[in-house]
């Protein structure tokens, strides 16, 4: 069971807990310390401040730093340093209120919208949109006119006005998570909604919530300071924003006084924001719905790091004539974080002869997709061709050659048809435009050709389909459109990456039939990637089997099926279930 063991060696490291991850983050540590100091400073103000922050002194009006006043005096001759120390209380208090109010309102309403059905959702979302259209500063100014400078009320109102941001986040993510299979499994297990919300939903979305709360707190501090700067802040207590206002009035005489309160405001705001990010990063195993994992690959694909004990690479070259495409000892790698190179394709040599169909078979992580993308020159930017060479019709392919060949002599049919059409343009237009840009046809000619192609690939009503958008056609039809696009340039080589995997089986048969017809008609070579041996048997002349970035076996299609040489090929053939025995039910035998 060597392959089973291989699966596990990739995942032997266990992850450290969240707290330890947080402590390893330098920005997180620094900002936590900074915020902690500010909090301690504010609490210990009575003991820390050298002087009375409200005591004026005529001889210190707008003075610069001096022995008595470490940072100088403000426009009433009060000690700037002491005022800075005392000013934190108001700011931190306001921030705390905003966090509490927004958290409660935002999270509760978001969850309600996600769980209580369409009407609640529509009503709450409408209210949320309405609130977002109101600039909070003008409301807070109006509030001041009505009730005067009450920080608590102001920050509660601000919290309410800003909570729609959190509402939208919670609502969107809760709806997403609600539909994840692991939540449905919990429902099936009989878990009540409340328990599901706490145990699953909140656990998964807590990261983004924390980041947003940190951002909102930071914004709240800014707004509060703005109000104070406008002169609408508290008159009794010392506030940093008020200090800026004071300094502003005397800006020509003592510009330095503007700097200190703004600086400490900036540090406070920045630390809160950075702490939020660091907490989110530390919570990573639960960093959100697995959509990102799904986006990466539909099947698990791990780079082949270990040297597998599968023997040296076999080459799938051919001496039966001049090859159309030749790969020799190709090696493709991706740089890792630690600076090493992770090799995904290793020592691959193959030929595709003109007019032949070569199948590239393998499971996920075998490197088959990487190999064909390299022929097209469509590997991701980080990929590097570490070794080896490619040639087409005898001449070596370099970067510029890729651009000459793509869409002209070499064409591509992808796997998931719906993801490969731009949702914003009609399908006919997407088919026709490259004909104008690449082949140089006129608009009318391109359209005519596109209609012909649509008809050729079996679309019954080309005129109508031409105008349709991708969301209006089926997967099978979309794949036909993509095939039409691929053959439009009369390519010599068609590279197809699992072209039928995402389709229903009856549609698969039709598409395979289409590909076979086109191949015969145009004597086109096809390099087809697949994991399905039935497809191989149906359409291929030669086969190369890949595992772990290498070709482990290659040969004619009949040979591969009747006389497989390599144990991996035999394993794959044995897994096809083709000759599995059917089961018989014997009543009463089971427990």
């Amino acid at each position: 069971m060597s392959i089973e063991v291989e699966e596990l060696t990739e995942h032997t490291r266990s992850r450290p807990g969240a707290l330890r991850r947080f402590l390893r983050n330098p920005l997180g540590i620094v900002s936590s310390v900074a915020l902690l100091l500010i909090i301690v400073m504010s609490i210990a103000a009575p003991w820390l401040a050298p002087l009375d922050p409200t005591a004026p002194a005529l001889d210190q009006i707008n003075s610069g730093p001096n022995p008595t006043y470490a940072l100088g005096g403000d426009s009433a001759g009060r000690d700037v340093l002491s005022r800075l120390i005392w000013g934190g209380r108001s700011t931190l208090y306001g921030a705390a209120i905003v966090i509490v109010v927004t958290a409660i309102v935002g999270i509760v309403t978001g969850l309600l919208a996600a769980y209580l059905g369409r009407f609640t959702d529509i009503a709450l979302s409408w209210i949320s949109d309405a609130l977002l259209a109101i600039p909070s500063i003008i409301v807070l100014i109006a509030l001041y006119a009505a009730i005067g400078p009450y920080v608590t009320v102001s920050m509660v109102v601000f919290g309410l006005l800003i909570s729609p941001f959190l509402y939208r986040l919670v609502r969107t993510m809760a709806i997403e998570v609600k539909n994840e299979p692991f939540v449905e499994a919990a429902q099936v297990a009989g878990l009540g909604t409340v328990r599901i919300v706490f145990r699953h939903v909140l656990a998964v979305i807590r990261g983004p919530i924390i980041v947003m709360l940190a951002d909102i707190a930071a914004t709240g501090i800014g707004i509060q300071a703005s109000l104070e700067f406008l002169g609408l802040g508290s008159v009794n207590s010392v506030t940093w924003g008020g200090m800026v206002q004071d300094a502003f009035n005397a800006i020509y005489r003592a510009p330095l006084n503007v700097v200190w309160p703004g600086l400490i405001l900036t540090v406070t705001i920045a630390s809160i924001a950075l702490i939020g990010n660091a907490v989110r990063d530390a919570l990573v195993p639960g960093h959100g719905p697995s959509r990102t994992a799904k986006k990466a690959q539909s099947r698990l694909s791990t780079p082949a790091t270990a040297q597998t004990a599968l023997g040296t690479s076999v080459s799938a070259t051919s001496n039966a004539g001049e090859a159309l495409v030749s790969l020799r000892n190709l090696q493709i790698g991706y740089p890792t974080f630690e600076g090493a190179m992770s090799i995904v394709v290793s020592d691959v040599s193959l030929d595709v002869l003109p007019g032949e169909v070569l199948g590239l078979v393998g499971e996920s992580g075998s490197g088959k997709s990487q190999t064909i993308l390299s022929i097209l020159g469509l590997l991701p930017a980080q990929a590097q061709i570490v070794a080896g060479s490619m040639s087409f019709s005898g001449s070596t392919i370099d970067v510029r050659q890729h651009e000459q060949l793509r869409g002209r002599s070499i064409a591509y049919v992808p796997q998931e048809p719906m993801n490969n059409l731009d949702p914003l343009y009609p399908v006919g237009e997407q088919l026709a435009r490259p004909l104008r840009k690449v082949t140089g046809l006129s608009r009318a000619d391109a359209r005519r050709r596109a209609l012909e192609l649509l008809e050729r690939v079996g679309i019954r009503d080309p005129e109508t389909v031409y105008r349709l958008y991708p969301h209006q056609i089926s997967g099978g039809m979309a794949q036909r459109v993509l095939i039409a696009g691929a053959i439009s340039s009369e390519p010599q080589l068609l590279i197809a990456d699992e072209p039928t995997t995402a389709l229903d089986v009856t549609v698969q048969a039709e598409i395979l039939e289409l590909l076979r017809d086109l191949q015969r008609e145009r004597s086109m070579a096809i390099l087809i990637v697949t994991h399905n041996f039935g497809v191989v048997a149906d359409i291929c002349d030669r086969v190369a089997v890949m595992k772990g970035g290498r070709i482990v076996e290659a040969g004619g299609v009949d040979d591969i099926f009747t006389r497989p040489q390599h144990e991996y090929t035999r394993l794959l053939l044995g897994s096809t279930l083709e000759n599995a025995e059917t089961r018989t039910y014997i009543e009463g035998v089971q427990a």
């Binding site: 998964v204 994992a293 799904k294 791990t302 099926f561 279930l577 083709e578």
Partner: protein
């Protein structure tokens, strides 16, 4: 629609009886009538049996499983489980049912909460069904052995495992309450060929050892044939044909079943040539 053998049986020993089940999904546009995704489907499952449900996209095969699990509302018809009607059961009733009815889903990445450790994931059904946590904890090691996962799995997170391993974890979670029926919804469709075969073997072995029954959904007739005792074929929400697996897959009574069988290519060039010719004769254009 074939009348010879519908999905129902005469024996009194059955654990699930779905009768004339219809399911509607609300239309996306407001004020439009709902869409009927399952019409008048009947199906029985006997103890220790695997009933395969096969169909293409839009056939409603997953919907029937979801209706049984309480994830989709039953518009018409009834579903009896263990003698009781469970269609549109309440949450409290679901908790009781959960001891005997579990699920394994298709998507290995979405089936496990990424923020939870494996131990907590597997023990979750115990939590809600009010089972004995201590007893379940003790059984964990055996359960891991049964699904062929190493012992140190329990304290890890899902992100550390491959697709096949995650499905094994999901199977362990489904087994912990020793259920009578597990709904397997396309459980091998997202896995590699060799992993598929191994997971199917595992499921068959578990069935032999514990006597659990499966409702096994798939679009792949080959997979269905390998694991099912009886098969029901669905097309656009209605039953096309059902019966014993050998009979349906070797001598199908309906054209659509025949089409499904013949459309999927055989991994044997010579036989595939023959089948292709037959397919084109039978289903031109």
């Amino acid at each position: 629609m074939s009348t010879e053998h519908n999905g129902t049986t005469e024996t009194s020993a059955y654990i699930l009886r779905a009768r004339n089940v219809s399911v509607d999904y609300p239309s996306r546009r407001a004020f439009s009538p709902p869409k009927r995704v399952l019409s008048d489907v009947s199906l029985d499952i006997r103890p220790g049996e695997t009933v395969g449900l096969v169909g293409e996209s839009g056939s409603g095969k997953s919907t029937l499983g979801r209706a049984i699990l309480g994830l989709a509302p039953v518009a018409e018809g009834s579903i009896e489980f263990g003698g009781r009607d469970i269609s549109n059961a309440s949450a409290r009733e679901r908790r009781r049912i959960a001891r005997d009815l579990q699920v394994v889903f298709q998507d290995p990445y979405g089936s496990l909460n990424p923020a939870m450790r494996i131990r907590d994931i597997i023990l979750e059904p115990v939590l809600s069904a009010g089972g004995d946590r201590g007893e379940a904890q003790a059984a964990l090691k055996d359960l891991l052995d049964r699904v062929q996962l190493p012992g140190d799995t329990l304290q890890r997170y899902p992100s550390e495992f491959s697709g096949g391993q995650r499905q094994r974890i999901a199977i362990a979670r489904a087994l912990i309450m020793k259920p009578k029926l597990i709904v397997c919804d396309e459980v091998v469709s997202a896995l590699d060929l060799s992993t598929q075969a191994r997971i199917l073997e595992l499921l068959i072995e578990i069935q032999r050892d514990t006597g659990v029954a499966y409702l096994f959904t798939s679009h792949d007739l080959g997979v269905i044939r390998a694991i099912s005792h009886r098969v029901t074929v669905l097309f656009r929400g209605s039953v096309v044909e059902s019966g014993d697996v050998t009979r349906v897959t070797e001598a199908p009574a309906e054209d659509y079943t025949r089409q499904l069988l013949m459309a999927s290519p055989v991994p044997d060039p010579a036989r595939q040539r023959v089948r292709r010719a037959e397919y084109q004769r039978a289903f031109p254009g």
